[in-house]
Amino acid sequence: MRPLTEAELKTLLEKLATYCGKGIQSLIADGTADRHVFRIQKDRVYYVRESLANLATSVKRESLLSLGTCLGKFTKTGKFRLHITSLSVIAPHARYKVWVKPNGEMPFLYGGNVLKAHVGRWSEDCPAHQGVIVLSMNDTPLGFGVSAKSTAEARRLDPTGVVTFRQADIGEYLREEDTLFVT
């Protein structure tokens, strides 16, 4: 376990910034005495309380499986891939949101994309290919994805057209149970 290098931090923050607005700054400096930090263990990045990260230094690298909240992992090509576990961190600071009607919740949680017919509400002025948080109508975060069309274009779309491409959903906690926390 170690802190991130400058290049790694930049890649991570770029990815987070596709989903989050200005609130992302509060992730680093939340104003409390015990701030949160990013730590990398093998290829996975964790968002941890600093005191916990300091305690974890007493555990040797091979024995440490995970700590804090896993945000995602670095691929072999050096890109960063967000995991569903990061939803609790990014959802409160989301820039663009899509609210899914109850009839669209199950198709999304089974790994499907968000169709226009299932959308209850969406954020205005969302450009195409931008990170979007998917929420249920009662504001429970269900996952995140990438907008397929801008809001203006999506309005003209037919009901079966895809509005948001799925990236991760909370159904993965069950579907990927075996591999989600294995490094």
Binding site: T5, L9, K10, L13, E14, A17, Q25, I28, Q130
Partner: protein, 195 residues
Amino acid sequence: MTPTKSSGSKGKPSGKANSSSKSKPKGSAPTGISKRKAKSLALAKPGGAQKTKSLTSSDTKQKKKRVYTEKELNIPKLNGIIPAGIAKPKGQKKGKVFVDDPESMMAIMSVVQAEKEGHIESKIQKARQWEEVREAKRKEMEKRSEEKKKKFEEKKEALKGKKGKRRHSDRARVAVEEEDEKPKEKKARKRVSFG
């Protein structure tokens, strides 16, 4: 390691100790005298030991070569160039440089955010521009289709009017023709009278 491989037979494990133990008896076998014994014999000879001693001392003097520094050799400077990517200033910390203090993290964050903001802004701007272009195109198409429709209607009206007139004229013409034809027929018709 190569000499041990060549000397050792196939299949047998080759090792340093093994090879040395094998080679020793080979060398001493023909004479039948061990090295130690030979040395002691040479020492026993009058003058023999001294000769060898002087020889060895002269050999070591000759073998000792002077080590030249790069400056002394006058190597052209081109040969000494270190590529820019490899060169590292001395006294620098080895390995990765971590970013863990909130100030530098915030600095990186603000840079990233500004970049992203600009990116999104340009995307939105572009989308709006395209939307405007599309709107203008649509309006033009509508206008054009309306004009076409209008022209069509006009043509239709004109044709309707013409048709009506033609019909009247046709009737008149037919009537005239009929009138023209009638006297001819009258002339041609033969009458028969019984009287």
